[in-house]
């Protein structure tokens, strides 16, 4: 009996503790939601006045032709936003004007004072003082922390989007914070705040399905400091962008060229592997195809860095591509017919138009490595090198490079890279290094 009782009691106790657990969970859930919405509500209420809609007004039609968001970073009237929000006005100040619309409906002119084109940031200034100033977070929040993106999605009015801070993305050279939450068009340039109401990033882009990106607040802090040290607005925005592009590519390629490039086998050839954090790679082959008359294996690598210059022109991308082909069932003439088609089909990795770029100019030569020339061994390759110059930003070029072996009748190895926004010196050094690493011997 007692045993039974005891057992009965203990069962009861266990049942009770489970009930308590469930209850706590049930209570805690709405409580947590309440806490979250409380802090979102508080953040919204406290910072509403400091978050603005940025509008680009077409002077001819008098209406807004683009909108974004921005926020007050200094009570002297300094406002942060994205470069891509104000780009049209930066390029054609005679045709566009920048305005802000506050939550209270106040409308006023803004003046572009500085940009950081690499991190897609811009500083605009109002004539009058603006409050409240949103404080910038000093420390990076831990991963998993709830954060709140604010802005004006689709011109619907100021909106709060809760999400999660997922740290600085490790796969791009220019740091971007991975924010799990939905950023929508029009929220660009708005702040993402932690629960203390401090800015942890600037809304910049989305990859869809809750994957969004923020510019780390450190980049904004740096731009504000540069602006304060200078003490006045930038006179020539185009020249400022040119300097930033030149300096950025110099820094990036110095680091890249100093790196010991890891390699990987592709067929009998050696190719460049992933270069962290610069490029990521994928691969494929036709080995699954039963109809294939030849073997083709490829590896494609691409950087995630894209510098926005205007709606039809971007820069900063690096691409590597490698092909290993074997004739298999094809005869040499057929194999080379396919090879020629592949060889003629390479294109740049970034987009641009005649307004911003000159036409590609190309050269091609038969090339052998020095050591091979001396020993009279090794591979003969056909190398194509094309460059196009930037019209607005001197000393910068887009490069398309292509190298393919031409001395084996049963197999070939093709390697290709494109660079966007690189100096002549760096492009040549890159070609030299690439040809030294990626080869078939």
């Amino acid at each position: 009996m007692s045993i039974y009782n005891e057992t009965g009691l203990s069962l009861c106790a266990r049942g009770f503790s489970r009930a308590v657990f469930i209850l706590t969970f049930c209570l805690a859930w709405p409580l947590a939601v309440a806490a979250q919405s409380d802090s979102a509500r508080a953040l919204f209420a406290d910072n509403k006045a400091g978050i603005l809609q940025i509008r680009i007004i077409d002077l001819t039609s008098g209406s807004k032709s683009a909108i974004g968001s921005g926020f007050v970073v200094s009570d002297s009237g300094l406002i942060a936003t994205n470069y891509h929000v104000v780009q049209m006005a930066a390029e054609k100040p005679d045709q566009y004007r920048i305005e802000y619309l506050s939550a209270e409906g106040e409308l006023n002119h803004l003046k572009l004072v500085d940009v950081d084109v690499i991190n897609d940031l811009a500083l605009v200034k109002a004539d009058s003082e603006m409050t409240p100033e949103l404080p910038l977070a000093v420390a990076e929040p831990p991963i998993g922390m709830p954060v709140y993106a604010l802005g004006n999605p689709l011109d619907l009015g100021l909106t709060v989007v809760p999400g999660t801070y997922n740290g600085v993305n490790q796969t791009s050279y220019h740091p971007r914070v991975h924010f799990t939450g939905s950023l929508n068009p029009g929220m660009s340039g708005g702040p993402t705040l932690n629960q203390a109401g401090e800015v942890v990033g600037v809304n910049v882009s989305t990859a869809g399905n809750q994957i969004s990106f923020l510019v780390p607040v450190a980049a904004l802090q740096q731009l504000i400091t540069e602006y304060r040290v200078r003490g006045h607005e930038v006179d020539d925005i185009r020249q400022r962008i040119a300097q930033q592009l030149l300096a950025d590519q110099d820094k990036k390629f110095t680091r890249l060229l100093a790196l010991d490039w890891p390699t990987l086998a592709l067929g009998e050839a050696v190719v460049v592997n992933e270069l962290k954090p610069f490029i990521k790679c994928w691969g494929g082959s036709n080995s699954a195809s039963t109809k294939a008359q030849f073997l083709s294996a490829d590896r494609t690598c691409r950087s995630e860095d894209n510098i926005y210059l205007n709606a039809k022109f971007n820069s900063g991308v690096i691409e590597h591509q490698f092909f290993w082909l074997q004739a298999d069932q094809l005869n040499t003439v057929q194999f080379y017919a396919y090879y020629e088609r592949l060889f003629s089909d390479f294109a740049p990795g970034n987009k641009g138009t005649e307004k911003d770029l000159g036409d590609y100019q190309c050269d091609n030569q038969f090339v052998r490595a020095e050591s091979d020339l001396q020993s009279n061994r090794g591979r003969t390759t056909k190398v194509v090198f094309c460059a196009r110059a930037y019209k607005e930003y001197p000393e910068l070029y887009d490069i398309v490079f292509l190298q393919g072996t031409v001395d084996d009748s049963q197999a070939t190895f093709v390697s290709h890279f494109t660079l966007a926004g690189v100096s002549q010196k760096n492009a040549k050094a890159y070609a030299r290094k690439f040809m030294g690493v990626s080869k078939w011997q």
């Binding site: 008359q293 030849f294 003439v333 641009g352 000159g358 050269d363 460059a387 393919g404 002549q424």
Partner: protein, 321 residues
Amino acid sequence: MAVIVEVLGWGGRSQGHFRVDGPSVTIGRGYQNDVVLDDPYISANHLRLDATENGWQLTDLQSRNGVQVLKNSKTENSSSTVILEDGAEIKVGRRRLRILTDGHPVEPAKELHRLEQDLGRLNRLSIWLPLFLISLALDIGSLYASSFVEWQWKNHIFTILGSQAVVLMVALFWSLLGRFLRHERQFLSQYSLILSVGLIYTLLEWLIGVLSYNLSSSGVAMIMLPLLAMLLATLLLSANFALATNMLPRQRWISALGFVMLVIVVSISARMSEWGEFSPYPDYFADLQVPILQFSTAESTDDFIDSLDAVFAAADRKALD
């Protein structure tokens, strides 16, 4: 004095003639006439020509459709009688006739050009057949060589038949023209000519391709190929004319060259709109040849990279345009 009644065809060319001796000539569909013309619009006894001092007096024998004088140097005709002079042209039914004296002057004989004689010898099956087989084999061979998926005849048969049909049509066109203008078809000669020029072009095009590949220069092919095409097209056209028309050598060359020039002007103006257009894609020389056709020496990586400064300089110039 004999009367020559010449039956004219399209373009005023003679299709044949009747010679009638005697003071008068009757013309009609009936077999009792001196000149019998098989045309349903001509009456059985249509007209009569009587020799007079000034020419032939035309008498309409109450024909259904009458007689129309198309050309007659004698202008003064009384309303009732019509006098035809040497060289007059009349229309009877749907036939055009020229009335001539047997002393009517004819054009001096044209010199039979050596080229025409030589080309005429091409009109043999023993010449055409090998040429045809070679070009057919070349056609199929080049398709096979450029195919990198599994070869299936059904995928290529239309391409092969199509290109052969085009050559056949062109040969037929010239042959018909020859039949009309020179009364000789020379079909196999025309066919053989087109085939051999096609073969020569294919061979030279391939040679130029190998040359420009080894020189690493697309410019060589870009200049030489159109020049070659122009030259061969002019030669071919001139030979076609020689076989199919009565043109004198000078006329023939001028016509051939003129036609080729016209084609060039039209194709250039059609492409004019593309010139100087910006392209976001690089236009590089991507030609490749099989390894045994690569015989130029390679340069070192260092030399190649040093030579790239010229590319950057060219890109800078292009951006300033």
